[in-house]
Amino acid sequence: MAAKVPVERRKPLLRQLADSKILLLMCVPAIVFFIVFNYAPLPGAWIAFTNFNYRDGIFGSPFVGFKNFEFLIKSGQLWLLTRNTILYNLAFIIFGNILQIAIAVMLNEIRSTFFKKISQAAMFLPFFISAVLVGVIAFNLLNYDTGAINALIKQTGGDPIKIYSVAGIWPLIIIMVHLWQSTGYGSIVYFAAIMGIDRSLYEAAAIDGASAWQRIRYVTLPSLKPTFIILVLFSLGSIMHGNFGLFWNLVGNNAALFKTTDIIETSVYRMVLTQNNFTTSTAVGLYQSLFGFALVMTANWIVRRINKDYALF
């Protein structure tokens, strides 16, 4: 950039401002937006180090140092939340990417355009609905009295299960619902990458007498490797951030399931909305933000070393 337009760089600041005042003005609404909703609340993170009360406000409330964090660590809650958030994200990343690649590869084998269109539309559908509707669908399937799964169990003569009170099944349910909602959407990226593979590679493979399996093993999958690595690294960068809407609408305030389902976002939301607890929730949020920040920087640093073009900054 600097090398291309050295003349622009040497202009004095005021001159630069004057020359680009219209472009600057065009950015003003967005800048104001991010100041008001993202930068202005930042000092509020100070709450994490106070015993916040409404009357004294954020900076008038008594300072307590790291006491809020100590409580979180000693009670074991921070560890539980971190473990759940990371494990769920790891499962989403691993199973999600495998399934997405598998679907993309198979979609590429489909010859009928009509079939491809219809099936893609079907797989894409769950992505469009709100998290609330995901909750409705789960209720439809899982509830004790009328849920479709229990209806099926009853029909075959079994005893219905109180799914909403068995913590052990929920990791499976949440992973399934996540895959249900995101696979069609995620496979598009891989499908696009497959479409971008040089056709001559397949021709060469055919000439060498490669079978369909060898074609996938030695041409398709290696070509998807860069996309795969980049996508995984970026998901690892946000491994501390959970899909709040999914977890909350599936589990909500159901304390019987917290051990296996509570993630950072749901816990913070519950503290703020139902307990009016601003100190602990801010401490958790700050911990998440700092930890997450370090992870993104690391992920980006690695991506940069692999391929500079893909790096975020």
């Binding site: 909703f37 709450i47 849920g147 993104v296």
Partner: protein
């Protein structure tokens, strides 16, 4: 062995649906692909069909034998309930439609303007502003401080504005718009400058008309986030407004028994008389209907958006 392939000089590259002799492994792979894709597509659509069927079933039959794939004892009772006292649902619809239309229009305009300015090579502050916007995705104050700031200091508690404003733009959509801008040749900007057009006029009259696919994609992402919004409403609106945004209205119907009674018939109906199970499903259908109807038409824009925005998300 594969002399036929050689002779024809074509590969079995998947993008070329040519009539070539198929290897046994090709046939097997293709069969597996068709079967798996069909099954997965069904897995994705089935919950929607079950929801629709449940909304068309009679409550007594659902209570007796649970939800299933086909309507049980077909009836429109649940929908009659909703439309007999349509005040709530119509109010929610109006709130949601107004927010979606205005939010999408305003958000799209600001995002396009910002994306355009940040893409202009001769704009000396583009990197600073880009980083300023991007930084908000790396580090945030967290839910509690943001909530206190917006609800208390900005005084937006109980105001639709708290929801409306916060959904106007995201850093990701601005980056996506900036990436889309690459498809507009820079010569367009230069020719505008030569003709003496101002920066805003170049944007509005020369670039915008060329940006239709980008506007469609980003507009759809915006519209979807407004339509599916329930999270901010739960934080900032709660029960302070009479007409809740549609998905938040649905959220309440599902999670609180009283909300169901109040919304359909006023408080003089006993909760036990209500077809509560089928009513929940019918409400879900009514709240999601427009998205499901529009879905086939908007799907392709999402595909292009994901493909372009995937790598530099």
């Amino acid at each position: 062995m594969h002399s036929s392939d050689l002779a024809e000089g074509v590969g079995i590259g998947p993008a070329k649906p040519r009539a070539i002799k198929l290897d046994r492994s090709d046939v097997v792979l293709r069969t597996i692909s068709y079967v798996t894709i069909t099954l997965f597509a069904l897995f994705c659509v089935l919950p929607f069909i079950m929801m629709l069927s449940a909304s068309l079933s009679s409550e007594a039959e659902i209570r007796r034998s649970g939800f299933g794939i086909l309507p049980k004892d077909f009836t429109l009772t649940a929908y009659e309930y909703i439309f007999n006292a349509p005040r709530q649902i119509v109010g929610s619809y109006i709130v949601t439609i107004v927010m979606t239309v205005c939010g999408t229009a305003i958000g799209l305009f600001v995002i396009a303007m910002t994306g355009y300015a940040l893409h202009r090579r001769d704009f000396p502050f583009r990197n600073h502003i880009s980083f300023f916007i991007y930084f908000t995705t790396l580090f945030s104050a967290g839910l509690a401080p943001t909530f206190l700031w917006v609800a208390r200091d900005l005084g937006l508690r109980g105001s639709y504005l708290a929801v409306f404003l916060q959904l106007l733009m995201t850093p990701w959509l601005i980056i996506l718009m900036k990436n889309f801008m690459r498809t507009v040749p820079y010569e367009i900007v230069e020719s505008g400058k030569v003709d003496g057009a101002g920066d805003f006029r170049i944007f509005a009259q020369l670039c915008l008309p060329m940006m239709k696919p980008a506007l469609a994609t980003i507009g759809l992402f915006l519209a979807l986030s407004y339509w599916n919004e329930w999270y901010l409403s739960s934080l900032y609106l709660g029960s302070t407004v009479e007409f809740k945004p549609l998905q938040y209205h649905l959220y309440n119907l599902i999670n609180t028994a009283n909300a169901l009674r109040n919304s359909v018939a006023g408080s003089n109906v006993s909760i036990t008389d209500l077809p509560s199970n089928t009513l929940k499903m019918a409400s879900a259908i009514v709240a999601t209907g427009p998205i499901l109807l529009l879905y086939p038409f908007i799907q392709k824009y999402f595909v292009s958006g994901i493909t372009i925005g995937a790598v530099k998300g």
